[in-house]
């Protein structure tokens, strides 16, 4: 074998703490190395051209590039060597940036370590084999999980481009948080006026099948061909008969149910249609509040329903579907703010969350758009907004910024003035974060035009005094203590990943961070892809973001899904397991462990043998580590290849 080694400087990123020329000169002494050099930027066009030229000039049959992480540029360099006529698997990388130059400044130790990492790569490359992908057909159907504004955008874009789309939404209606908002910053246009038509589009689009009040039960398979099982939860109303007339919700005698859509601002009935513009506009029974379920006596809704849609015996239903790609768009939820005793921990009715306040502002909300104190229904005159409740607070394990609270608080202060012209708003804030287009102007307007008083500082305590709430805090700009007598306190409660997000991530086999937000493939360059091929992200589930960004990411996810599913055939990754039938004793151990059921038993001249189904194998190598005979080997990561790397490091 004739190996070429290229040690990248990455400008000064590597060369600053690694002597690249000396690594190259050490590398030239390794077995089979025919050529070694250092190079300024291996990934740039001149760098790639130099690699290609060297392959030709020195008749190289394998290449090692020592540079950044293979998770970044392995695909880049594989293409490079391919352009020079080599098989793309005759290539290895040594990570001397993320794992060497960036984590220490000791030039001598770094140079030595870099040389060793190159030695490992060369040792492995000597055992590499050419590998060729197989192609397999793609299911041209997309699953969108979550019907918030991000999921809606992804679904509509994909459906408009001709793709079949399944949307799974766990609530009885799509719309997500945006459907609960009154107006939206920074234009203060009506939320349901801009979202409503898009929700209708989802319902009416010939390419979209909506499964509301449903969840993903399980997912198996792989990119291009996922098998999903959808659980359609029992609504106790046959939606094929329900016309959404709402008679049942008028007559239901159980009037004290928690109103999830309205965030508990005012009660609702046990049978509900979440809100007038709900999509689908269908009724569902909340079992825990239903008299029929709790006492066995009632049946009012069944009696009044003109189409006989009520069915108390209904069971969850399962739907199996095959899809080629998946967009996760499960959004966020507000954290449980009652951990904050200083704000009353939930004991004072006139301390409400920002989302409850949106419902109070909304004309279609339970108060008909009149701001009323929950305690006595009176109109508040002094409203205090407290920002960063559960954001940027290390003490409760939430160091991150929720991103949209500064902006919506400004919006809510403006709307407060619009609703109650003689009211006063006070906003306690840590910093005002408003970097979007037209955003800073907006947070200025609320102070200058709407006279909201912004107080920079933390609130130390909220306590009742008569009918009022006393809000005590520091004004860190003035260096004084402030006390405001408030009629209503609105908490800008920090957001967190949607409930159950980690659970869904496990089903999708994607990663999530310690807060439950899904991990993108690369923080800068692959913001909507995940590390699981065929699974994409949109909206706040990937990291908190406002509506414009959620929509943009929804479109981006659709574009990525379309790029994938516009192909008829996909190339399978050839880094998969292969059985040496001479060694295989047919013990079935590999068949038992394979998480993807990618191995089957075959009969070879009367002998049972294992056989890998090439397009199903995902290349985890579990079977390889399990086989007692060493008969099944993961191509590109065989026992010998990995041991060669270990041996390159050993002294005995």
């Amino acid at each position: 074998m004739r190996i070429g080694v290229f040690i990248c400087h990455c400008g000064s990123n590597i060369a600053g703490t690694v002597d690249c020329a000396s690594v190259a000169s050490v590398a030239s002494t390794y077995p089979d190395v025919a050529y070694a050099t250092d190079i300024m930027y291996a990934c740039a066009e001149p760098g790639q051209d130099a690699i290609i030229a060297a392959i030709k000039e020195h008749r190289l049959t394998g290449v090692v590039v020592a540079s950044c992480t293979p998770r970044m540029h392995e695909p880049t360099f594989r293409k490079t060597v391919e352009r020079a006529g080599l098989n793309r698997y005759m290539f290895e990388m040594a990570n001397i940036r993320e794992h060497v130059s960036w984590i220490g400044k000791d030039m001598e130790a770094n140079t030595n370590k870099a040389s060793e990492l190159v030695r490992m790569a060369v040792s492995k490359l000597r055992l590499n084999r050419e590998l060729k992908p197989k192609s397999f057909p793609v299911t041209k159907r997309l699953l969108v999980v979550g019907g918030g504004v991000a999921g809606i955008q992804a679904a509509l874009d994909a459906a408009d481009a001709g793709l079949e789309v399944l949307m799974v939404e766990k609530q009885p209606t799509i719309g997500g948080k945006m459907a609960k908002l009154d107006k939206t910053f920074p234009t203060v246009d009506c939320s349901s006026c801009i979202l409503g038509p898009r929700m209708v589009d989802v319902a009416q689009h010939p390419n979209i099948t909506l499964y509301a009040y449903s969840e993903v039960e399980s997912i198996s398979g792989y990119v291009g061909n996922f098998d999903v099982k959808i659980r359609k939860k029992a609504a106790y109303v046959d939606w094929s008969k329900c016309t959404g007339c709402g008679l049942c919700t008028e007559k239901c005698p159980s009037k004290k149910s928690y109103d999830r859509f309205n965030e508990g601002v005012g009660p609702t009935t046990a049978i509900i249609i979440p809100f007038p513009q709900a999509i689908p506009k269908k009724a569902s029974i909340e079992r825990e509040y239903c008299r029929q379920f709790n006492t066995g006596k009632c049946g009012v809704c069944a009696k009044v329903c003109p189409t006989g849609a009520i069915n108390y015996e209904m069971q969850d239903e399962f739907i199996d579907a095959k899809v080629g790609g998946i967009v996760a768009a499960t959004g966020y939820d507000l954290m449980d703010w009652t951990v904050y005793q200083e704000y009353g921990g939930g004991r004072y009715p006139d301390v409400v969350t920002s989302l409850q306040y949106e419902r109070m502002l909304s004309a279609s909300g339970p108060t008909g758009g009149h701001i009323k104190r929950p305690s006595d229904g009176e109109e508040p005159k002094d409203v205090v907004f407290i920002q960063c409740v559960g954001s940027r607070d290390v003490s409760i394990g939430r160091p991150y910024c929720s991103g949209f609270c500064c902006m919506y608080t400004a919006k809510q202060a403006i709307l407060t003035k619009d609703h109650i012209p003689d009211s006063h708003s006070y906003v306690f804030y840590m910093d005002i974060r408003s970097p979007g287009k037209g955003y800073d102007e907006f947070t200025r307007r609320v102070q200058e035009e709407y006279q909201a008083r912004y107080i920079r500082g933390r609130v130390s305590m909220v306590y009742p005094k008569g009918k009022k709430l006393i809000v005590r805090g520091a004004d860190t700009l003035m260096g004084t203590q402030v006390e405001v007598e408030a009629d209503l306190v609105v908490l800008a409660v920090g957001a967190e990943a949607a409930k159950g997000a980690p659970h869904l991530a496990e089903k999708l086999r994607i990663s999530y961070d310690s807060y439950g937000f899904f991990m993108e493939g690369h923080p800068k360059l692959r913001p909507v892809e995940t590390n699981t091929a065929g699974v994409f992200l949109a909206g706040a589930c990937q990291g908190l973001k406002d509506i414009p960004s959620s929509v943009a990411q929804g479109s981006a996810a659709a574009a990525k899904a379309l790029a994938l599913l516009s192909r008829d055939m996909l190339d399978s990754d050839p880094q998969i397991a292969a059985v040496n039938v001479n060694r295989c004793v047919g013990c079935r151990k590999c068949i038992e462990v394979c998480p993807f059921k990618a191995i089957q038993e075959i009969d070879l001249r009367g002998q049972p043998k294992a056989e890998v189904i090439e397009t199903v194998c995902q290349g985890c190598g579990l079977c390889n580590a399990t086989c007692p005979q060493g008969a099944i080997q993961l191509s590109h990561f065989t026992d010998n290849q990995l041991l060669a790397e270990v041996e390159a490091l050993c002294r005995f």
Partner: protein, 152 residues
């Protein structure tokens, strides 16, 4: 070729590509300083790791071996890390029989987002190995070493 005399010991890591290798990358991107001893072998999944690799490394003269994969339930391949945990736990119990100090082998879980945790894991493990000093071998291990070398 070897580690820097007096300064470093031989520490070999087996890291799964999706979580821990990514975590080590994240640590690098964040410039979280770490000791230089560790050399990382990238494997697709912790379930790919045959305990024999660890054994070979230790018999081959590694002073410490660190395995790291995805957190339980968070495996890119669904369940590879469960198998890994079971196997590696058995291995840990078995090391003393071979005359190898089990403290020279550790396995842990680090996700791709946990750069800081990775820094902590590497720093602590390397410090532990330095506290143990260079590996010395019992007569049983010596014998195995000779067999191991002969098998190559």
């Amino acid at each position: 070729m070897s580690v820097l005399k007096e300064k470093e010991l031989r520490v070999i890591g087996f890291l799964c590509n999706w979580c821990s290798y990514g975590g080590a990358d994240t640590a690098g991107v964040g410039r979280f300083a770490q000791p230089t001893d560790l050399r990382i072998v990238r494997v697709p999944c912790s379930g790919r790791i045959n305990p024999l690799f660890v054994l070979k490394a230790l018999l081959g003269g590694a002073d410490g071996v660190l395995v790291s994969g995805c957190h339980p339930r968070d495996c890119h391949y669904a369940e590879g890390n469960f198998y890994a945990r079971r196997r590696l736990e058995v291995l840990k119990g078995f090391l003393p029989v071979l005359g190898i100090d089990p403290r020279r082998f550790e396995y842990t879980w680090v996700s791709a987002s946990e750069g800081q945790r990775w820094q902590h894991v590497v720093t602590t493990f390397t410090a532990n190995i330095h506290a143990l000093g260079p590996a010395s071998f019992s007569p049983e291990a010596r014998e195995l070493q000779i067999l191991n070398a002969a098998a190559r």
